[in-house]
Symmetry: C2
Subunit: 349 residues, 2 copies
Amino acid sequence: MISKPPTIKQIAEQLKLSVSTVSRALHDHPGIGLTTRLKVQKLAKELNYEPNLTAVFLQQGKTNTIGVILPELSEHFFSAAVSAIEEMAYQRNYTVLIAQSHDDAEKEMALVEKMKNHRVDGLLVSLAKTTRSFEHFENLKRFNIPVVFFDRIPSIPGSHTVSCNIETGTTEAVTYLLKKGHRTIGMINGPESMLASNDRKHGYIEAMSKNRLKYDPSMIVNCDLSETGTRKALQQLLTHKRKVTAIVTFNDYIALFVVTALKALNQDVRDIDLISYANLPLISYLDHRPVASVEQFPFMQGQKATGILLDLLYNKNTQSADGGAIYKVVIESQLVEDSSLKKAIKVLK
Amino acid sequence: MISKPPTIKQIAEQLKLSVSTVSRALHDHPGIGLTTRLKVQKLAKELNYEPNLTAVFLQQGKTNTIGVILPELSEHFFSAAVSAIEEMAYQRNYTVLIAQSHDDAEKEMALVEKMKNHRVDGLLVSLAKTTRSFEHFENLKRFNIPVVFFDRIPSIPGSHTVSCNIETGTTEAVTYLLKKGHRTIGMINGPESMLASNDRKHGYIEAMSKNRLKYDPSMIVNCDLSETGTRKALQQLLTHKRKVTAIVTFNDYIALFVVTALKALNQDVRDIDLISYANLPLISYLDHRPVASVEQFPFMQGQKATGILLDLLYNKNTQSADGGAIYKVVIESQLVEDSSLKKAIKVLK
DNA sequence: TAATTTTACGCAAACGTTTGTGTAAACTTC
DNA sequence: GAAGTTTACACAAACGTTTGCGTAAAATTA
């Protein structure tokens, strides 16, 4: 009842041919006569022959597989990115091996090693928050396994990256608020240690200077991204001697926390305009939603990153001249006003 | 500069040993003397030796890999499930190969074939909406590749499944509304062709009969799950001669559509209580949110399904006696009131 | 028709492992 | 000290492919 999948060898025996002939026949090799070629292909179809990819992989030294390592699959930003990655990979006949680091640098290291042992042809990575050292990635270069980082990219030079320019989006956001008449604009930022926080801060400062306004450092408060941290940060802004009329929040979660906190304080939520960075698909359906969002295009980031990786793989095989080119794609983040924020929803579940 | 990963053969040559000895030494085989064993392991560490898994896979006839096929990764329900799957698989030293059917039965078929060729040890599947035939899955049995379906499960007997009992959850939901005093409870259901719609309908009817109330078929309207379809269905309920005071919607998306439509009609949203089936993480933050939700536990479904698959794989290897046992796990869906609906949010992006 | 080219296929190595079996040397036992 | 046992390793096959090379037979050429 239970049987092993048919092999080339079986076909060869049945037809009294050699395995090499069968292999070539199946690949339409010109050195094989038409009649035998057809005979082989006919039997192959009859037996439902399909090549054993594990054998092919070993023989070819490549697996047509790309590995994806990211912090958390259930986070919408990442699952959207993976969705794009898988789709593109599928079109180009690649398969996707997936793993989550859960923002743990050590696990990330172990995963890189595992991916290497699986002989993935290339790697797509969005870094864990705690990753400080990048040797395990450097290590891959020696084995000619290309890596493309997206969104959470490393600070080391020489790596291929796709990221979103948060800074310009932030400048846009603050400028938008200024145009709406706001003069005291607060920002609830992430931890100072995060690159992402820095980008937002610089974007803020840039907007002020562009509009010839004085930058007040106390308008930007850091927080640890927890709900209570957010509440504290908000408190700090609310008790500021200048009355804050708008707040740019680190992301949609923080915006949610702010709305919740304001309600808890019995403060009229409409007094304060919010702008955040889109990472929650449903945010536009909230009643006290941000007036605008800085869109980060997870889908596009996934696409671009995959495109680059496939390019690198292709060039690796064709030994192209531009062997050393470093890809650094920056997607401009974009301010999206609430009115156009609500996307067409497809019901998928 | 670019080098190939070290192999067992290289170690053997350097130490003037045979490959078999090296292999056994690395596996702590008792037949190898302590001194050589240590010598081998030392050199292996120095060279950063790691086994080439493609070779191991070919030799063992298994890959320690499980394939996951589902409709859409960017859909929260599925990404949550995959997250659980990956996590559990990782703990048991399995790797996850992932692919999306985009609800296309043909692509699903192709993916099954591809997974088979990749020699995944087992498969986790949530069916495409359009899947009608299951031969390609049956086919896997012949090759001893177990399949566990979750959430979107097939109607054929003899397959391992994990699913959520929507019916009882629906009964709970309707009963809950009845207890709140509602007497005319509408339901915006999915297409009649979907199993999921049937479950909801039966749950509704069950609740009515349990509470000795007459079931009015016109209270349940089908819709195609689009926004305009929802609007039409809603219209039908609103113009019903009996005044509908509560609606059970097919899922969170439909609830959203309903809220949007009511607002557009300038109808006070608070007049109508909504209950839906949770699949959107943010729903509890909406202002006019459902008063309760039927939770479907994507994470748990992923966990259970993976657990079963790993069990099957283990039993396959140990030739256990219960070879023919069919797993049918049904998770009771659960009505969650709004008050306890808001989950602790972890900021991950 | 003999020499040359072309056609159509087979042989065997290679990819990197694992594992059953064979066999010297070392060690036991009486 | 001979027979038997154990220890510690080597040999070689196997997993299912791909591919460089070799070689008969057939087809072409002169």
